[in-house]
């Protein structure tokens, strides 16, 4: 056994750090560190820089413009990005649809769609959930009825993250009502500028508007936009979800957040002592540190033998569960550290009006926003059900 990085992995780690230090625009890094909302343009700027370097599609094979990195290299890169204030490029095109097209798409779909994901011409969003179909995804009702060379789509999707920036959506739609619900689902690509598509924002608990509802009324979608075979979409849906779940663990972000916490605990004095010297806080931080170190290794253990960037079904569920628990616990610790200063909606105050470091001022909204981590991508209860099913059968 050997947990050391090899010398080539170590030099890759250096290369990643240097690259980010040199090329990541400082205004973007500052926004990321302050937990501020990024504009579409911010994402696209960083994406273009990565694409130019050939480092954008970490999980794709080389022939499609990916990196062909090993799992360890991917881990090194993700950690380097998270620790140095690089934004996380939204996963919908790169880490969800991309792998799906590579595995299930036609040659033409690959040739047409993959380059557009890389160069940012397409911003994809995910149309899985519906108001009545969340955990029970297979009960979805959005219908696609064949009409000549088109499908006609009617229905409603809910919770589409960052749909406001997107020009395309990949959707699960019902193409048959026969047999088991899973057997009548297809995976289709819909352009949001098609007549009959309408998007409305949903306001979240912290006041932000990052999710949307999408309505489809007699939307014509060419049959060529079907991925895989008609009524075989469920397999694709599940394949995509393992990619989504593996990524949600977000270990790099937790490492960054723990460091950020330590920095804050060193700055903040509360009731006569530094927070860093407060035994209650020190104990909580140390426990989380241990959990996180364990998860880092768990993640590597589970990913090291995979080739296409997603762990197996049970493994990705375990990673999602523990990863999100740790991320949420860190947000809780960070918010608590601010004491009464966490109360204001921070954007009401300018920096010199705040009693805390400006970076910390958004701790409470970010904590509330992070409650989503245990709900989306298949809620943590559903992950437990998946693992339990693997353990106990039925």
């Amino acid at each position: 056994m050997n947990l050391e990085l090899s010398s080539s992995e170590r030099s890759f780690q250096h290369e990643v750090r240097n690259f980010i230090a040199e090329r990541l625009p400082s205004d973007i890094a500052e926004k990321v560190k302050a937990g501020k909302e990024l504009s579409k343009c911010d994402f696209l700027r960083w994406q273009a820089i990565l694409n130019e370097k050939g480092w954008l599609a970490a999980t794709w094979p080389k022939e499609y413009g990916g990196t062909d990195w090993t799992p360890v290299e991917r881990h090194i890169f993700a950690e380097g990005c998270a620790l140095n204030g690089a934004p996380r490029i939204p996963a919908f095109g790169l880490n969800m649809l991309g792998p799906v097209l590579i595995k299930f798409g036609t040659e033409q779909q690959k040739r047409e769609m993959l380059p557009r994901i890389l160069d940012g011409r397409d911003w994809w969003c995910q149309g899985y959930s519906e108001p009545g179909a969340g955990s029970d995804l297979a009960s979805l009702k959005t219908r696609a009825v064949r009409d000549g060379n088109d499908y006609i789509v009617n229905g409603q999707k809910a919770w589409t993250t960052l749909g406001q920036h997107a020009n395309k959506i990949f959707c699960l739609v019902r193409t048959s009502t026969e047999g088991k619900p899973q057997e009548g689902i297809s995976f289709v690509l819909i352009y949001l500028n098609t007549p009959g598509v309408e998007m409305r924002p949903i306001r979240l608990i912290d006041g932000s508007c990052e999710v949307n509802e999408v309505f489809f009324t007699d939307v014509r979608v060419p049959v060529g936009n079907l991925v895989g075979e008609e009524n075989q979409g469920w397999t694709i849906a599940k394949y995509l979800l393992t990619h989504e779940r593996t990524n949600i663990a977000g270990i790099g972000f937790s490492i960054r957040d723990l460091r950020r916490y330590h920095k804050l605990a060193d700055q903040i004095v509360r009731d006569g002592r530094k927070l860093a010297d407060n035994p209650v806080y020190a104990a909580r931080a140390a426990e989380l540190d241990a959990e996180l170190e364990a998860l880092r290794v768990t993640n590597l253990r589970m990913l090291i033998n995979t080739r296409d960037g997603a762990a197996g079904i049970t493994e990705s569920s375990l990673l999602k569960l523990k990863g999100t628990q740790i991320r949420q616990a860190l947000q809780d610790l960070y918010r608590s550290a601010l004491g009464p200063h966490a109360a204001p909606i921070a954007h009401d105050l300018s920096e010199d009006e705040l009693s805390v470091p400006a970076e910390a001022a958004r701790a409470a909204p970010i904590y509330f926003n992070h409650r989503k981590l245990s709900i989306f991508g298949g809620s943590n209860e559903i992950q437990r059900n998946i693992v339990a099913k693997a353990l106990f059968g039925n």
């Binding site: 608990i205 509360r270 407060n278 004491g339 109360a343 009693s355 943590n380």
Partner: protein
């Protein structure tokens, strides 16, 4: 032993509940609580007219209550309705004004004509009064303050502030009329403010009153615990209703044992919170006050956060939305922990008190 409310308290609770149900819907709250002045003058006048503010003060001082039980009964209802009116701020001030009846302010606050808030926290002080750094300087008969106060709950729109500052005589209390403050909305509704003092002229209320200030803060902590109990009760009800009504996999979510057990755990914790709050109420004014208030604030802080998180989780995506009332209850419950010392501050307070106790029994 009797855990029932007296007839008087039952009437107080039910009339307040009715008043809030009639005038303060969750939609009204959404309109009021996040925009300056972060509350409603009409509702405030209504609460005063009902005698809510008078209930915080004893009869000799011009009120008609003044027990910790009055506070419990009222704040539980405020919590249930998620009322973001600045009642806590005025409770704290009323308690202090009642001990130092130096002016006619007390009467005006009880009548709802004057609103006040207590400036005690500082950028580096959350609950330990021995760390207060704001200083009071006397020049002839005038007093001047220097320092910075933060997290002044309920200060936006208040007519005057009571400010805690260190004088030669000890920790003092000062009146600041028509203050200039930096105000903001709280993430969970209601207003908060910061105050910067640079030789600011104030009036002396009392020069040496650390004990009285601590007592006022302790009753404020009891109030927050009671508010949390009310809010948790309502939030658990909302969650139970939702689980009964929401179907996935062809059945009600309420039929999944994994979820049933989670809700049962929430209810167990709620009962625990109710009990420790009652115990804190009973201890108020006795030698056990500090310990039981610290216990209550610690336990309620922890469990209110847990119940808030669980309720969001059990609602799925809906629980994350601004539109859903439960999300505002959840926010309030988490943020209650940040007021007047949080679970960790009170844990340390408890450890200190217990150590004192252990040594005392050892000798």
């Amino acid at each position: 032993m009797d855990f029932n409310y007296s007839e008087h308290h039952q009437i107080l609770a039910s009339s307040l509940r009715r008043y809030l149900a009639d005038t303060y819907s969750i939609d009204d709250r959404g309109q009021l609580a996040y925009r300056a002045p972060y509350h409603s003058r009409e509702i405030w006048a209504g609460l005063a007219k009902m005698g809510i503010l008078g209930a915080f003060v004893g009869e000799q001082q011009g009120g008609f209550g003044g027990t910790a039980q009055d506070v419990l009964v009222i704040f539980e209802e405020l919590g249930r309705a998620l009322c973001a009116e600045p009642v806590l701020a005025n409770l704290l001030c009323l308690r202090l004004l009642a001990v130092f009846p130096s002016s006619d302010l007390l009467e005006a606050v009880i009548a709802g004509e004057t609103r006040m808030a207590l400036a005690v926290c500082e950028p580096q002080v959350s609950c330990d009064l021995t760390c207060i750094e704001t200083t009071a300087r006397q020049v002839g008969r005038s007093w001047f303050l220097n320092g910075r106060k933060s997290a002044i709950y309920g200060a936006p729109g208040a007519d005057h502030l009571l400010v805690v500052a260190r004088a030669d005589q000890g920790l003092g209390l000062f009146l600041l009329e028509s203050p200039q403050i930096i105000e903001a909305a709280m993430i969970d509704g209601g207003g908060i403010a910061e105050l910067v003092m640079d030789d600011l002229a104030v009036k002396l209320i009392a020069a040496d009153c650390a004990r009285e200030i601590e007592d006022a803060l302790d009753i404020g902590r009891v109030a927050l615990c009671a508010e949390a109990v009310g809010a948790m009760t309502r939030l658990i009800d909302l969650t139970v209703d939702y689980l009964k009504q929401r179907e996935q996999f062809g059945r009600a979510l309420a039929s999944f044992q994994a979820l049933q057990h989670r809700v049962v755990d929430m209810m167990v914790e709620l009962e625990q919170c109710r009990s420790i709050t009652i115990a804190a109420v009973a201890s108020y004014g006795t030698s056990e006050q500090s310990r039981l208030v610290a216990m209550a604030k610690n336990l309620v802080g922890r469990m209110a956060t847990k119940i808030a998180e669980e309720s969001i989780q059990l609602h799925g995506g809906i629980g994350m939305t601004w539109e859903y009332p439960g999300s505002h209850y959840a926010k309030r419950l988490v943020m209650i922990d940040h007021q007047l010392g949080d679970q960790n501050d009170h844990l340390l307070r408890l450890i200190k008190l217990n150590k004192g106790g252990a040594q005392a029994t050892a000798v």
